[in-house]
Each structure stands twice: as C-alpha cells, then as structure tokens.
C-alpha cells in the first residue's frame, strides 16, 4: 500500500510540477506588465472584447483603487444576476427536472459561495435547474477564480515595480488564454474517460427488482474540468467527487488532482518570471511543495492509526481518498471524493491545517497572495536582523503596509474563531451538530475554516441547510475573500509608489534557502499557532480520546 501511495504521489507531483512550470512561464509572459501586448489571434479577440466593454488596455493602466473598484463592480454585477436567476429558476427555461425557486438565504449563500470561488454547497446539486447549473454556477466557475487571479497578477506587477495593469484586460485574458483552452482539452479527455456530457434530462429506469430509479445527468464533463482547474470544487451532484458520474475511475481521479494543483503551482513560477528572478519563484514553489509533502505524508500517516477502510471511497481505495482529500484542502478546491467527516481525526487535523495556512499552494491567485503576505511578515520581522529597515524586493515595508498586513492577518482568525464560537453558543449552531463532543467542534470549525479559506468542502455531518448557517457562513465567505484581495492590492500600490533601494549583498535576500526557512517558520509560527488551542480541543482531543 505504501508503495502504491508513494508511486502515485510522486508521479502526480512530478507531472504537476512540470506542467506548472510550463504554464507559469506562459502566464509570466502573457501577463507581463508592459510592452508585450499579444498580437496573435487570441490577442485580437481580446482587444475586440475589451473594446466592447469600452476598455483600451493600452491607455488604461489602473491604480490600486481603480483596479479594486472594477473588481468589486464586476463581482457585484455577477452577484446580483446570479442571485436573481437562482431565486426565479422555477419559472425560467432549461428546467427539465422542474427544480423550484431557491429560498433567499440559500440563494444568497450559494451566490456568495460561488462568486468567492468557495463553492460551499448548502443545497444539493440536484436542486438546481440546468439554467442555474450552467449559466449561474457554470459561469461563476470561470469568473470566480479569475477574480483572485487578476488581483494576484496585479500585485505581482506592483512588486515588479510596473503599473498594476487593467482589471478588465486581465479578466478577459485569463479566461481566454488559460481557463478556456485548458478546460476544453481536459474536458475532451474526461469525456473519453467516461464522464457524461449531455443536456438531456433525468432518465427514469426500472431496476432489476422492478423499482423506479431516477438518474440525473447533465453537462458533467465540462462542469468537472473547470471545477477542478479553477479550484472551485462544487459538485454537480450532492455527492461531489464521490459520485460515479463526476469521478468514474482512477484515471479521472488522477486528472482531477492534477487540475487542482496546476494553476496554484504555476503562480510562483509566473511570479519569478515577472519580477525577473526565477530563483525567487522557485524558492516559494519549493517551500510550498515542502509543506504540501509534509501535510500529505502526515495525512497518509493517519492511515497507520486507522488501518480499517472506515470513511474511504472504496472505488479509489485508501490512497486515492487520502491523496484527493489532501490536495482538495491544500489547493482550496473543496471537491471531495469521500466524506471528510468520517476519516481519521488526524486526517481532519491536516485538512484543517491546509485550509488555515492557505499557502500549501492555496486557491487560484488567493493562495499565492497569502504566500506574499506571509513573505512580507517574514521580511518585516526578521529584516531588522540585518540592521536595516526591512525591504521586500528593494521596497521598504513601513507603517502603512504593516497596518494593512496586520489587518489581513487578522481576518482569517477573526472569521474562523468568532464564527465557530458563535455557532457553538447559539441554538441553531449547536443543533446542526450530528456528532457531539470533540468531533462536533471539528465539524463547526471545519465549516467556518472552509468558508473563510474559500475552500468549500464540507466536513459533512453538519445540518447546515438552514438560514442560520447560510447567513453566518456568508459573512465568512465574503470577508474572507474580499478583504485580503483589496488590502493586498493596496499594499502593492503603496510599494510600487516607493523608490526602490538598490539590491546588493548587504540587502535582505528573499531568494536564499535561509529566507525559505524564515518564511516557513513564519507560516508555522504566525499562521498555525493561532489555531493550535482550538485544534487541540477539536481533532486532537478527538484522536486522543478515540
């Protein structure tokens, strides 16, 4: 079994890293700040689309404020549109299965959840019409990851001392050049491997015992590929990746894991290319990969403590289950091929850890923004040790940036701890717990961690389909997403405006193994120690008292 795990893990890691390096270089080239305006046919299409939006990107580099405004405006438009479509889906076309209108809180939660690239689902996949599935969720699967990606690119440009760029141009470019081609390619592959793709309605069949069975279908392959590539994670079906149509076999399972890792892994490479130091990018990719290996091995280690098959998806075996659940929490996708609730508590601990750190690759764009945040903190805390004002890539980190860093750091602990504490106190919160005690605490903690980190997976077992949970997690989803995005843009804008201190051997280096260690230490000390007490009471106590 260990051989099988190691084999599958290393093969996956090598293939994913290889592909990510290629993709990262491509991203670094096509999103390069100035000068390189692509003139190929996609470039012409891009420009035409932008002109339709009234944007001439050559003239419209935005400030961080302008970029943020455009970002929020577009999000608001998608949000309002999505909310209305979900509320009235019952009376709208493309509803062969007769899905009813969603109630206000479910519609609110679902829209926010999908717009924030979280895809936490408090409804069951079968409750939506095809219109909702395709035009609301399907669209958001493309749009949502693009939001954090564009911010990440703009921030990198700021650090590279270049104009931040234009939000609309980045938005269109990412979808046209990355999401659509990769989705198309892997969508075809998934269809070949047996994932259904149809607009036909539910099939009613009579089983051997003579009972009637409804079989839901739909454009699953298309949904599946962007779900993973964009780190969305929504299930077409309630059972998500454990459903045989979504994830019919080992090969599809493997491709899904690969797709989840692809973009998050490629961003440090793109960063290295854009700031003109591949070494810097490699360092971050290296540290993130190291954390990923440690986390995944830790999770595999929980198998030693839990040699029975409890909680695992039998079609993929223990290995397929463990690896998938590690990657889905590491890359903040949130797709699941087994119920995380029923795995060993130590596996739960690692899933929570992955999401709390949110840098073990992390979601599209958002993960690397977190990496940069921790890098800023690491530089600020230890940069003083060389006897100079701390600088990141030659830009001084001063009170303004540190204030924004401090607020950004506060957001996840605030949302996760306060959200969990309130839910453990009020009746609708406590009432949702299916498995009281330490495990119950883990269930609630997981829900808020998953929402805040924009992961979207559920620990399951939590009765979260009601107004209380819809509204409370909406807060976590919303603020966990947008505050860091806007504040990181502000930091980049402020750093860009500063004169660069020339780098020499007496400047603080952010591309050495030593800094890698400092960075790792900061992630662990600042990021993880915060949550240790609650983790001790949740999964660790759960494990100790098993």
């Amino acid at each position: 079994m260990w051989t099988q795990f190691l084999l599958q893990f290393w093969i996956l890691l090598v293939i994913a890293l290889g592909a990510a390096v290629l993709l990262g270089r491509y991203i670094g080239t096509v999103f390069a700040p100035v000068g390189i305006r692509k003139t190929d046919w996609i470039g012409k299409l891009e420009r035409r689309l932008l002109l339709l939006l009234g944007v001439d990107e050559r003239k419209q580099d935005q400030s961080w404020v302008g970029y943020s405004k455009s970002l929020l405006l577009v999000n608001l438009l998608f949000f309002v549109g999505g909310y209305l479509l979900l509320r009235f889906q019952g009376s709208l076309p493309l509803n062969p299965n007769g899905a009813v209108n969603l109630d206000w809180s479910t519609a609110l939660h679902t829209t926010i959840s999908f717009m924030t690239n979280t895809d936490q689902q408090h409804y069951s996949g079968e409750a939506l019409s095809y219109l909702s599935q395709t035009f609301v969720l399907g669209t958001m699967l493309f749009v949502a990851p693009t939001m954090a990606f564009t911010v990440c690119i703009a921030v990198i440009r700021g650090l590279a001392n270049q104009p931040l760029g234009n939000f609309y141009a980045d938005f269109v470019r990412f979808i046209l050049r990355i999401l659509i081609p990769v989705s198309f390619l892997f969508g075809l592959l998934l269809i070949l491997l047996g994932v259904p793709q149809t607009f036909g309605g539910t099939v009613t069949v009579t089983t051997l015992e003579g009972a009637k069975q409804l079989i839901y279908r739909g454009p699953i392959a298309a949904f599946e590929v962007i779900k993973q590539l964009g780190n969305n994670g929504a299930g077409f079906f309630g059972a998500n990746g454990a459903h045989p149509f979504e994830n019919p076999n080992q090969y599809v399972n493997f491709i899904q894991m690969f797709l989840m890792l692809l973009i998050p892994m490629s961003l440090p490479v793109a960063y290295g290319k854009m700031i003109g130091s591949a070494k810097q990018g490699r360092l971050f990719l290296g540290v993130m990969t190291l954390l990923f290996i440690m986390m995944t091995f830790g999770m595999a280690g929980s198998l030693l403590a839990n040699p029975t098959a409890h909680g695992q998806e039998l079609r993929f075996g223990q290995i397929g289950t463990i690896l998938y659940s590690s990657i889905t929490t590491a890359a903040e996708t949130g797709a699941v091929n087994a119920m995380h609730d029923s795995l060993h508590p130590l596996a739960g601990l690692i899933q929570l850890g992955n999401m709390m750190l949110n840098v073990v690759y992390g979601g599209t764009g958002a993960g690397f923004l977190n990496v940069l945040l921790y890098a800023f903190v690491a530089v600020f805390l230890t940069g003083l040790l060389i006897g100079r004002t701390p600088t990141f890539l030659g830009k001084k980190l001063e009170t303004f940036e540190v204030k924004l860093m401090a607020i950004t750091l506060l957001v996840p602990p605030f949302l996760i701890l306060v959200g969990t504490a309130v839910s453990m106190y009020v009746a609708p919160g406590v009432g949702a717990i299916s498995n009281p005690g330490y495990h119950g605490l883990s269930q609630v903690l997981y829900e808020f961690t998953s929402a805040t980190a924009n992961n979207g997976s559920g620990f399951e077992g939590l009765g979260d389909a009601n107004v209380y949970w819809n509204v409370s997690t909406s807060f976590a989803l919303f603020f966990g997403r947008y505050i860091p995005l806007i504040l990181m843009l502000a930091i980049a804008g402020s750093l860009k405006a500063k004169p660069a201190v020339p780098q020499d051997e007496f400047s603080f280096k952010t591309d050495t193994p030593l800094f890698g260690t400092v960075f790792l230490g900061t992630v662990v000390l600042v990021g993880a120690l915060t949550f240790l007490p609650v983790l001790v009471l949740g999964p660790i106590a759960d494990w100790l008292t098993m």
Binding site: L384, G387, M405, L514, V526, V534, V536, L537, A541
Partner: protein, 687 residues
C-alpha cells in the same frame, strides 16, 4: 607626523569613550528607575503600550479573582503577582533607559544657571539677567564671564571653554565672521572680549533642546518602531481572539477554564518580551548616540543612520590633516640628494608654516644635517603673495629660496642662472602624483624639488574598509584638482570622489545618490554646507561649525569629529538589529510556552492530554506558573541586551541574518524549553 597604525582602535567595536561604559547602571539610577516603574503603572501611561496594557488589565482582573473568588485562591494570587511583576519589569526597563539620559540632563541643567549679561542698549551697557535676553539682543562678554545665550560673534575673538557642553577641556578659538563664529550659552570665555548677537529666545536654546532630547521628554515613536508595534498589536489581537473564544468551546465540551488560567494563557502567547522592551530599546539607542557626544535631534535620524548606503565626506580636515607635508625632496640638474636637502632645510629654517616644519622633520627622518646655526645673522624673507616664495639671505651672502616653480625659475633666470633640463619633468611628475611641487634654489642654481603631499589621517583606510564591509559607499568631496583628488582618494581608499567640488556639487551628489535609492549621510560645518546637510538623510554638523549648519543638520557632534558618522551608522544598525532580535526571540518563545501551557489547561478535563506534555512538567499548576514566571523574568534578563544593543560586526546580509537567526530565532525556541523546565522543577520542590 604619522603614528603607527596598529594603535588605532579601528576595525573593532565602536570605540566608546570611557564615560560611556554601558554595563554599569549606578545604584542611584536603579533606585530612581524602580520608583518610576511604579509611577508608570498609571493607566494613562500604560495605554500607550498596548501589549503591556493588556497584561496590566489581565493583572487587575486576576487580582479581582483572587479577592472575590474562593476557589484556587493561591493559584490566582500567584498569577496576579507574576503579572504585576511582568508589568513592573517592563516599566523598569523603560525607566532604566530614561534614567541614564536624565543623569546627563541634570549635569547640563547645572550649566544652565542664570548669569548676568551686559546688554547693549543704544550706546549704553545695561546689566540684565540672561533669562531676559531675546533674539537679536547684543551682549558683551569678557574673560571670566559666561556667554549668556546662544549667539553669533559679531566682533572680536576669544578662546572659549566649552567643556560644559562637550566635555572637552581644551578651550576653542571663536571669532567674528567665518565658520567659527557661533557660541553656546553657558560656556566660559577664557580670554579676550567678544560682542555677541543672541540668536535664540529663552527656552529654545541649544542647551534647552539638548536637555529635552536626552531627557526623552520630546520622544516620539520612530517610523520603524511604530510599524513594529502595529504588527505586534495585531498579533496581540489575534491571541486575544484565541483566548476569548476558548471558553465557548470548552463550555460546549462540558468543562470550564477559570479566568486566571485564560489570562495566563493570553499573557504567555502575546509578545510581552518585545512589548515590554520596545521603548527601552529606542531610548537606549538614542542614549548610546548621546554617549558618543553626538546629539541626535530625533530617534528617526538614528534609525535612518542604520539604513545609510552612501557617506559624503570632506577631504580636508576629515580624511586628510588638511596641510601639505613634505614627503620627498628630489634633486635636479647637477645637484645631489645631499645638496638639495641642504638647500631645502636652509630655506625652511625660519619657516613656521606646517609645510616648512615638515621639511625639517623629513630631513631629520632621513638623517640629513640641519644647519641650525646658519640662522644667525641671516635675513628672513617671508612668503608674499606677489613673490610666491620664501627663504633666507644667509650671513655668508648666499640667498636660499623655495617657492612655486614659475616664481623660482623667474628668480633664477633674472640672475642669469640656468634652468636644469629635468626640472620640468620632475615638477610634472609630482603634479601627476597629486602633490604640490616646491622648487628650491640657491643663488643661480636650482637644486631640486620638494614634494609636498596632503597626508591622509592614520586609520582612515581601515575606517573605509570597515564601511565597505558594511555595504556603505564613501564619496570624498574636495576643492583640489582631479589629479590630486584621485591620488588622495586612492591613498585613503574611498570609493568615489568629486574634485573641484562646490557646495552646489555636494547637493548634486546627494541628489544623485538619493535618486538611485540610496540613503545619504554627510558631515559639514560651514554655512555653505547647510543646504547639503538639510538635503542629506542624515546630516551631522560639527559643534564648532556655524549656527546655520547646526540648524540644517539632524545631528550635532559635540567633539567636532567628522568621522564619527561611522559610529553613528553602527549605532543605528544596532538599534534596528536589537529590535529585530528581541522580536524574533519573543515570537519563537511561543512554541515552548504552548507546549507547557496547552496540555496543562486541558489536562484536568481531558486526561489524555498528558501525551502532549512533552516537557514532562510536574503538574498543570506548576506548568502554567512556570511558563508565566519564565515570561516575566525574561524581561529583566534581557534589559542589559536592550541597553547595550546586539553586537554588530560588518558582514554581508546573509551572514548577519544567519548569525542572528541562529542566536535569537533558534535560541528563542530552545531557551524557554530549558527555562520553563528548570522553573517547573524548582516550583515542584517548593509546592
């Protein structure tokens, strides 16, 4: 005269003057600091330091628990006492740092006593108290009187004893006009009489400013300190969230944590070590500068000194002695080394200029005879601007001259003498080397050329090497021609130079460096240095310099030693490093404290937590108290380090980071494990 280089205290720790010994905290300061530590418990003061304020609130709450709750009274009392001590230790650290400045301020105040001033009123002189003098008043000061206020000499010359301000006992000469016209209130006129125009109103004088600065009365948080405390405050808020949500979780799980236990957990997790020492580090940094006899106008300037990447120095008086010394005497034509030395020494027998004396010194060094008796009956020909030569008409009728090449050639030619064919070549050669040639002749014969050279001060090369090791570039500014400038630059080992430099050039150089992103420091004393001093990020004015220069600068060196800028830079770096070191240490400490306290607080309700008690601490009570005690006593233990600063040796950023991370990061993880375990063993044996 050159001194042996090996005796120069360069290339080592900054040579702190004797009185600036850093270790000794004398008993009276300690006593005062203890008193002040209690005074600072005032919430209005505590609230300025968010982290210690949280501890203080926690302490008050714990005291409340001790008084009103019967359960666990002993434990609660212990927590209250330890927290009280934690706050007190932090206040004590700040008071100690301030106390050392106060002692200095007191001695300054002593020299600020009112004196009687003779003020000019119309054509009359009126005797008034110095406290009534305003800007623009004119006073007369004569031998034995104190200068009644800061001012500019408008008439006369006097030697003044400034030891009250500078600690330097030798009097200095001040005179009207030029760069040495400013006088400081409270200094003593030792000879002659001067007329002084007062330049400051009461309460705004240099002495007043200095007192305010060293007392720390006008201390504001520096930019980096502000940024760091923002981050530390946010860490504190995060841990506040962690601790405040914890009782909800435990309550759900069916057990309760008492208030004092939660407070103990909070205090252990928030960065109290750096929080308690942060302001002490800042004050001590300023104080170290003051002990170097440099007055920094703000902490910001000291901090900026740490970031300096370029230093601009004047050549004359800073890098070189400023007067030309004979370094060789070369024969031309038929003359031999002996004859040319003889001629040169004869021409310099009566020459009292440094150049003249240096010729005799050189001859002595080379064991050449000096015919002192030739002076008897000789007529001394002094240097005159028109003739551009000087010398002697000896009793035996010989006429000896030395002077500028053209002048001597003219003089010899007028008498019908020959110009040796290799003279021009020798003169050119010396010029090429950056020296000044002085031609020596007796009657009609040109004997040779004295090679005068500006001499680099001993130890400068080592200073610049050290700066280079710190990553700092030095630029020398001089009015010399490019050839001479290049030679001195090479000899002194500066990285760059600007020849034929005007004050405008200096500003241009500073701007050029600043545009390239460098922070620039410069020293200066003249009025025409003032704009450049203001433009530089760190401007160090000499106390001997003009009022304008001092006002434009953000630091003043009381000893008027321009090379002190180097030490100031090191102090700035030390200040930043000390802050970084204690922050790293403080945060790294959390690992051990977590391992001590987390299992302890949950062990009663969840006995299986014993598995996490990897330090094998005796009991939950001793574990919590040990962590808390360690947390408290680490503050006073680190006071000496905060005062003295982390030791600094020039090396690359990577080496510095590696070294400091090893000591304060890795050490910060390990030390508390050991410390807490030891305290636990002790506690277990007592309880």
């Amino acid at each position: 005269m050159m001194e042996p280089i090996k005796d120069q205290p360069t290339g080592q720790e900054p040579n702190v003057p004797e009185k600036a010994s850093t270790s000794a905290v004398n008993p009276s300061i300690a006593k005062q600091a203890t008193l002040d530590a209690f005074k600072k418990l005032n919430p209005a003061h505590m609230v300025k330091q968010p982290i210690m304020f949280v501890v203080w609130i926690g302490c008050l709450l714990a005291i409340g628990y001790t008084i009103f709750i019967d359960e666990m009274r002993g434990f609660n009392l212990a927590v209250s006492i330890i927290l009280f001590l934690t706050v007190l230790f932090a206040n004590f650290a700040e008071s100690i740092a301030e106390g050392r400045g106060k002692a200095q301020a007191d001695s300054l105040k002593a020299s600020k006593a009112d004196v009687m001033a003779r003020k000019r009123v119309g054509q009359m002189i009126e005797t008034v108290s110095s406290a009534t003098l305003r800007k623009g008043d004119v006073v007369f000061v004569r031998t034995g009187e104190y200068v009644p206020g800061d001012g500019e000499i408008i008439k006369g010359l006097a030697s003044i004893d400034e030891s009250a301000i500078t600690g330097e006992s030798a009097p200095v000469i001040k005179e009207a006009g030029g760069d040495f016209s400013s006088v400081i209130g409270g200094t003593l006129v030792v000879s002659d009489e001067i007329e002084v125009r007062i330049t400051s109103n009461p309460g705004e004088s240099f002495l007043d400013q200095m007192i305010a600065l060293v007392e720390g009365a006008s201390r504001q948080k520096t930019p980096n300190e502000l940024a760091l405390s923002t981050l530390l405050t946010s860490l504190t808020l995060i841990f506040l969230l962690v601790v405040m949500t914890l009782p909800v979780f435990t309550n759900y799980l069916g057990f309760d944590l008492s208030g004092p236990i939660l407070i103990a957990l909070l205090v252990c997790l928030i960065p109290t070590t750096i929080g308690g020492l942060l302001s002490a580090i800042g004050i001590a940094g300023m104080d170290r500068v003051t002990r170097f006899n440099v007055i920094a106008m703000s902490g910001k300037a000291v901090e900026a000194a740490g970031d300096i990447q370029t230093i601009i120095l004047d050549k004359t008086g800073t890098i070189t002695f400023g007067n030309r010394m004979a370094s060789d005497i070369l024969p031309v034509g038929a003359a031999t080394t002996e004859t040319v030395f003889s001629g040169a020494t004869l021409s310099s027998l009566a020459d009292e200029t440094p150049e003249g004396r240096s010729v005799l010194e050189l001859a002595e060094l080379r064991n050449m005879p000096i015919e002192q008796k030739q002076l008897d009956g000789a007529e001394i020909i002094p240097f005159r601007a028109e003739t551009r030569m000087s010398g002697l008409d000896l009793a035996d009728g010989r006429r000896v001259r030395k002077g500028a090449g053209q002048a001597i050639q003219q003089w010899v030619a007028d008498q019908g003498g020959e110009i040796p064919s290799n003279l021009q070549e020798t003169v050119d050669q010396i010029s090429r080397l950056g020296g000044t040639p002085l031609v020596v002749a007796i009657d009609t014969e040109i004997l040779g050329v004295i090679y005068l050279k500006d001499t680099v001060k001993p130890g400068m090369r080592e200073q610049f090497d050290r700066l280079r090791e710190m990553g700092i570039k030095t630029v020398m500014c001089t009015g010399d021609n490019p050839l001479t400038a290049a030679t001195i630059a090479r000899e002194a080992g500066v990285d760059d130079f600007v020849a034929e430099c005007t004050p405008e050039d200096k500003i241009r150089v500073i701007k050029r460096e600043q545009d390239a992103g460098h922070l620039v420091a410069m020293t200066g004393d003249g009025t025409n240095d003032a704009p450049a001093l203001a433009q530089a990020d760190v401007g160090l004015a000499m106390n001997s310099g003009t009022q304008a220069a001092k006002e434009a600068a953000n630091m003043i060196d009381l000893d008027s030693n321009p090379t002190k800028i180097i030490e100031v830079v090191e102090i700035g770096k030390q200040l930043l490093m000390t802050r970084g070191a204690l922050t790293t240490f403080s945060i790294a400490n959390d690992v051990a404290k977590y391992f001590a306290i987390i299992p302890a607080i949950f062990m009663v309700a969840i006995p299986q937590m014993e598995l996490l008690n990897i330090m094998r601490l005796d009991s939950p009570t001793t574990a919590i108290l040990s962590a808390l005690i360690f947390n408290a006593i680490i503050i006073p233990m680190l006071i000496p380090l905060s005062m003295k600063g982390v030791s600094y040796k020039p090396m690359t950023a990577d080496q510095l980071l590696g070294r400091n991370l090893l000591i304060y990061g890795v050490g910060g993880v390990i030390v508390p494990f050991i410390g807490i375990k030891i305290i636990d063993v002790l506690l277990a044996s007592i309880l």
